[in-house]
């Protein structure tokens, strides 16, 4: 079979799914799902296999997952997850085949600057350090990337306005994947097109000279 396509489901995981008390397996890997991972999933009494990896979820992992007694597989790599990882997860040897026994938190999500295809430590080498000149922005990366000026702007964009397009428009910032960031409000470039200054008008850091 060669004509197989991946699903491209988008939007959020409906909060209503957290009401499915019989749920044992939620496996929505490799879609384009967004939003956060609701803490109530960690409270589902029979949830054994939770795989939301390789989507576009952001935020943190709730403490509730660390308290789950049913959880065996917890796959959240390849998203936009940041610290902290609940300590209770890092010491839970029931999950991910006991990877936490040897790797601690890395058995849940690889730390910044490291990666594996799965997004968590895998024997024998655990999470692999990124090649020179590359790093990761989020926990549980499946690949490293070279971080450029505009990537940093994109992070700023995500953190400050990410889910609020209105704010974006109001401040005349455009799609961070575009190449005309020198024209964005608050950005100053030098003659080479390199970003030389960022002003943060919203934070009161506005410097009239741009430095």
């Amino acid at each position: 079979m060669s004509d197989i396509f991946n699903n491209r489901l988008s939007g959020q995981l409906p909060e209503s799914l957290t009401q499915l008390v019989a749920l044992q397996i939620l496996h929505v890997k490799s879609n384009r799902l967004t939003g956060t991972i609701h803490p109530d999933f960690g409270r589902l009494p029979f949830l054994t296999w939770f795989d939301v990896s390789t989507n576009q979820f952001h935020g943190t992992i709730a403490e509730s997952f660390g308290s789950s007694r049913a959880l065996r597989d917890f796959r959240v790599g390849g998203n936009m997850i940041h610290e902290p990882i609940p300590k209770s997860l890092c010491v839970n040897t029931n999950i991910n085949g006991g990877l936490t026994r040897n790797y601690g938190c890395d058995g849940v999500l690889c730390p910044l600057g490291t990666y594996t295809e799965q997004g968590h430590a895998v024997p024998p080498e655990g999470c692999k350090p990124c090649p020179d000149g590359q790093t990761t922005i989020y926990l549980g990366a499946s690949a490293c990337e070279a971080i450029t000026d505009v990537d940093i702007l994109a992070m700023y964009y995500n953190v400050m306005f990410g889910t609020s397009p209105n704010e974006m428009q109001r401040h005349q910032w455009k799609d961070p994947e575009g190449d005309d960031w020198c024209t964005w409000k608050g950005i100053t470039c030098d003659n080479n097109g390199e970003i030389s200054a960022i002003r943060f008008p919203l934070l009161g850091l506005d410097d009239p000279d741009g430095y």
Binding site: L9, A22, W49, D73, N96, Q118
Partner: protein, 341 residues
């Protein structure tokens, strides 16, 4: 009366068959007097090997010449059409039309000696054509006459490695059929007939791991008694209809790696008995409907986009936790699961 001997060369006087002789598939049929005067019949009375008889219809598969298809004659057609000689040693009696249908291996009858179950999962249908890799005349696929086994409740022809066939639309006539299984038969080809919607008793439909194309027919959504549906690993097209909500008895809906597209309909939330929803590895778009929260029996949701992960196979290993089952696939996920053994 089963025609043997000379009839296999030429039909006796006063009888006929399309080829003028009895074959593996049919016998010679006596001419029925077409009128009281018998004007048309006398010429045939002395003729051997007639291929037609005015006023008398021929019924294909009719071995005893009574003009009707008995259950035994239908089973015999199935045997002939799928190279019964090579089904395997347990099934030799299928070829002997003198052995009653209820005595055949793989057949179960009701108290009234009606055929209610055919399970040929132990036989190798079309074995010779599979071995010789040529499209043998010995394998003509499932005869449409199967649809005339009106009391049939179970039809299992699963895991047939060599059976090359379409799904005859006449199977839709099996109004008592509760369980149809053609799963893991990689040469079951063509589309799923819309007539499948006439199987009003159907509870289990397994067409997974066949080579079916075309869309999921609208008729399917008329099967309101359906509890388990397996369509995974086919080359279907089109999407899941909003009529899905009519299948309110559905417990398992498994349509993974089946090349379907479109959205998951909101009506999935009407399936209040749904326990297992598997849609991974398709080309589905849109959102996961919030209405799924109404499916209060749901235990498993698999809508992964990654086609390389055989979700069901991983589940097998997950449930049984044996190393053997892990050897069938190679993802790290599997290895991680196996480490728990």
């Amino acid at each position: 009366m089963i025609f043997k001997g000379c009839a296999a060369v030429m039909c006796p006087p006063g009888t006929f068959s399309p080829s003028g002789a009895a074959t593996m598939e049919y016998g010679c049929r006596p001419c029925v007097p077409s009128d009281e005067g018998g004007k048309h019949n006398p010429p045939l009375k002395k003729v051997l090997g007639s291929s037609a008889c005015p006023g008398t219809n021929f019924v294909y598969g009719d071995l005893n010449g009574d003009g009707e298809l008995s259950d035994r004659e239908i089973l015999r057609l199935l045997w002939v059409y799928t190279d019964g000689m090579n089904w395997g040693p347990d099934y030799a009696m299928w070829g002997d039309a003198g052995t009653g249908e209820c005595l055949l291996i793989g057949v179960k009858c009701s108290d009234k000696d009606e055929v209610i179950e055919i399970d040929l999962s132990g036989a190798t249908l079309c074995a010779e054509s599979g071995r010789s890799s040529q499209h043998s005349q010995a394998c003509r696929g499932l005869p449409r006459e199967l649809g005339q086994l009106r009391k049939l409740a179970i039809l299992k022809l699963n895991e047939q490695k060599y059976l090359r066939t379409t799904i005859p639309s006449e199977l839709g006539l099996l109004s008592k059929l509760q369980h149809l299984d053609l799963g893991k038969s990689p040469f079951v080809v063509g589309s799923i007939p819309d007539s499948i919607g006439r199987l009003s008793s159907l509870k289990i439909l397994n067409l997974a791991r066949c080579r079916l194309n075309g869309t999921i027919p609208d008729g399917l959504y008329r099967l309101t008694r359906l509890e388990k549906l397996y369509f995974s690993l086919n080359s279907l097209s089109g999407s899941i209809s909003t009529q899905l909500g009519r299948l309110t008895n559905l417990k398992e809906f498994m349509v993974s790696r089946a090349s379907i597209s479109g959205r998951i309909p909101d009506e999935v939330g009407d399936l209040i008995h749904l326990e297992n929803l598997e849609l991974y590895g398709n080309n589905l778009t849109g959102t996961i409907p919030a209405s799924i929260g109404n499916c209060s029996s749901l235990r498993r949701i698999g809508t992964s986009g990654r086609s390389s992960v055989l979700f069901r196979d991983v589940l097998v290993s997950y449930d049984s936790l044996t190393n053997a089952s892990c050897q069938t696939f190679s993802t790290i996920d599997c290895l991680v699961n196996c480490q728990k053994v």
